[in-house]
C-alpha cells in the first residue's frame, strides 16, 4: 500500500490521531487527510512539521462567518480560515474541498476568492450522493440537495471561477476516446480505481471498493485482510454499468459511476437520471454561454 487517505467524520477528533498518523507515515505511506480544519492544535502542527502529510484537504462549508453560523451553528469560520493560513505558512500542501448546497450557494465566489488569495486550489462539487447508509434504504433521495437543474447551473458557476471560456468549451468537446468501444448494447465493467487498485475501510472495519458504496462490505475483523480484499475485487469485477452509459459520448465527463448508480437507484445497471440530466444541462449551459464566441474564433 502506498497512498492512504485518513478521513472521517473528523479525524482530528481522535485523541490518538497524532500517534496513528505518525506511525503510519513512518511506514512510508503517502498520507492525505480530510479535515474540517477546526481542531488543529499546536501539538498537531508540530507533528506536521516533523512529518508533513502528502496533502491536507480542508472542507470549507462557507465563505463567511454568517454562513458558518447558519450552517454549522458555530462560529468556526474564523478558526478554520486561520488554521488554513497557518498550515499554508508552515509549507504544507493543501486543498480546499467545498460541497456546494442550497445553504452555502451564495458563497461560491467568496470560497474561490479565498483559495486564490491564499494560493490553495479549490475543488467544489454540487452533486450530493443520496445518503443511503444514513437514510435507511431510500435510494435517490437527498433532502438537502439541489434540483439537477440547479446542480448543473452552480457547477458551471464553480468551474467558471478557475477555467477560461476556451477551457470550459474544451471540457465538453468530444474526443476520440469518448467514442471508443461504445456499443450502448451492454454495460461496461467498473473502470475507476475502486476495487482494482484501491479499497476503503470504514470506521467499523468494513472493506468496500470505495467510500461511496452504500453496501455492507466485508469485515476485516472477521476475516483476513487478504480475504476481504479478494472479495472486494471479485465484487467489483462483477459490477456492470448501465448499457446507455457505455454508448454515451459524454461518459468520460459524466459523474455517473457504479457507486453513484447504486446510490441513485439501488442498481448499478440503471442509468442515474439525476446525474444524466445534470451532465446534459451543464453542457447546454456552457454551449449557450460560450459556444458562439468560440466557434466564430475558429472560423477566422
Amino acid at each position: 500500500m502506498l497512498f492512504l487517505l485518513l478521513t472521517g467524520g473528523e479525524p482530528f477528533l481522535r485523541a490518538d490521531f497524532a500517534r496513528i498518523y505518525t506511525e503510519l507515515r513512518k511506514m512510508g505511506l503517502m498520507i492525505s487527510i480530510n479535515t474540517n480544519g477546526s481542531l488543529l492544535t499546536d501539538e498537531l502542527m508540530e507533528v506536521f512539521r516533523q512529518y508533513p502529510p502528502t496533502r491536507v484537504n480542508v472542507s470549507l462549508y462557507g465563505g463567511s462567518a454568517q454562513t458558518y453560523r447558519d450552517l454549522c451553528r458555530n462560529a468556526a469560520y474564523e478558526t478554520v480560515t486561520a488554521n488554513i493560513r497557518r498550515m499554508k505558512e508552515a509549507g504544507l500542501s493543501l486543498k480546499i474541498n467545498c460541497s456546494v448546497t442550497p445553504y452555502n450557494v451564495q458563497d461560491i465566489e467568496k470560497i474561490f476568492d479565498f483559495g486564490k488569495e491564499n494560493e490553495i486550489p479549490v475543488q467544489a462539487t454540487t452533486y450530493m450522493y443520496p445518503p443511503v447508509r444514513i437514510n435507511g434504504e431510500k435510494y435517490g433521495t437527498a433532502p438537502d440537495r439541489f434540483s439537477w437543474e440547479d446542480a448543473a447551473k452552480y457547477l458551471v458557476l464553480c468551474r467558471e471561477q478557475y477555467l477560461t471560456p476556451e477551457q470550459l468549451m474544451y471540457g465538453i468537446t468530444q474526443t476520440e476516446e469518448d467514442t471508443l468501444d461504445c456499443t450502448g448494447e451492454t454495460g461496461m465493467p467498473m473502470n475507476c480505481r475502486a476495487g482494482r487498485t484501491a479499497f476503503w475501510v470504514t470506521w467499523d472495519g468494513r472493506m468496500l471498493p470505495c467510500g461511496m458504496f452504500p453496501n455492507e462490505g466485508y469485515s476485516v475483523r472477521s476475516m483476513k485482510f487478504e480475504e476481504a480484499w479478494q472479495k472486494v475485487r471479485d465484487y467489483t469485477a462483477s459490477i456492470m454499468m448501465p448499457a446507455e452509459c457505455s454508448g454515451c459520448s459524454k461518459r468520460e465527463k459524466c459523474a455517473a459511476c457504479a457507486a453513484a448508480c447504486i446510490a441513485e437507484s439501488g442498481d448499478s445497471t440503471i442509468k442515474p437520471e439525476y446525474i444524466c440530466n445534470m451532465t446534459q444541462r451543464q453542457e447546454d449551459l456552457i454551449k449557450q454561454k460560450y459556444g458562439r464566441g468560440i466557434r466564430s474564433d475558429e472560423n477566422k
Partner: protein, 88 residues
C-alpha cells in the same frame, strides 16, 4: 555517508522507491523511483556500508569495469546528496 533518516526505502512491486516522510517532505513532497543499482546502493548505505565497500561489493556482482562503476556510483551519490536524500 548515511541515508537521511526521514526517507523511507520501500520495494513496491519490484520498484525501488524512496518516500520522504520527515521534514524533508516539506520540500520533496512525493516519491523517488530508483534504478536497480540505486536500490542496491541505498540498501547497503542503510546498513552502514562505506562507499569503497559498496564499490567492491558491486564489482563482485556486476561484470563491469571498475572505473565505469566508480563513476556511476559517485554520480548517483552526488545526486542523492544534492537532493538531501543522503547526508555526507
Amino acid at each position: 555517508m548515511k541515508t537521511n533518516k526521514g526517507v523511507i526505502y520501500r520495494n513496491i512491486a519490484g520498484e525501488h522507491v524512496l518516500i520522504p516522510v520527515g521534514s524533508i517532505a516539506m520540500d520533496k513532497n512525493g516519491m523517488f523511483v530508483m534504478t536497480e543499482l540505486g536500490g542496491c546502493i541505498w540498501q547497503m548505505l542503510e546498513q552502514g556500508t562505506t562507499k569503497e565497500e559498496i564499490i567492491t561489493a558491486l564489482l563482485e556482482e556486476y561484470e563491469v569495469e571498475e572505473s565505469r562503476l566508480r563513476a556511476d556510483v559517485e554520480d548517483f551519490l552526488q545526486r542523492m546528496i544534492d537532493a538531501k536524500l543522503i547526508e555526507e
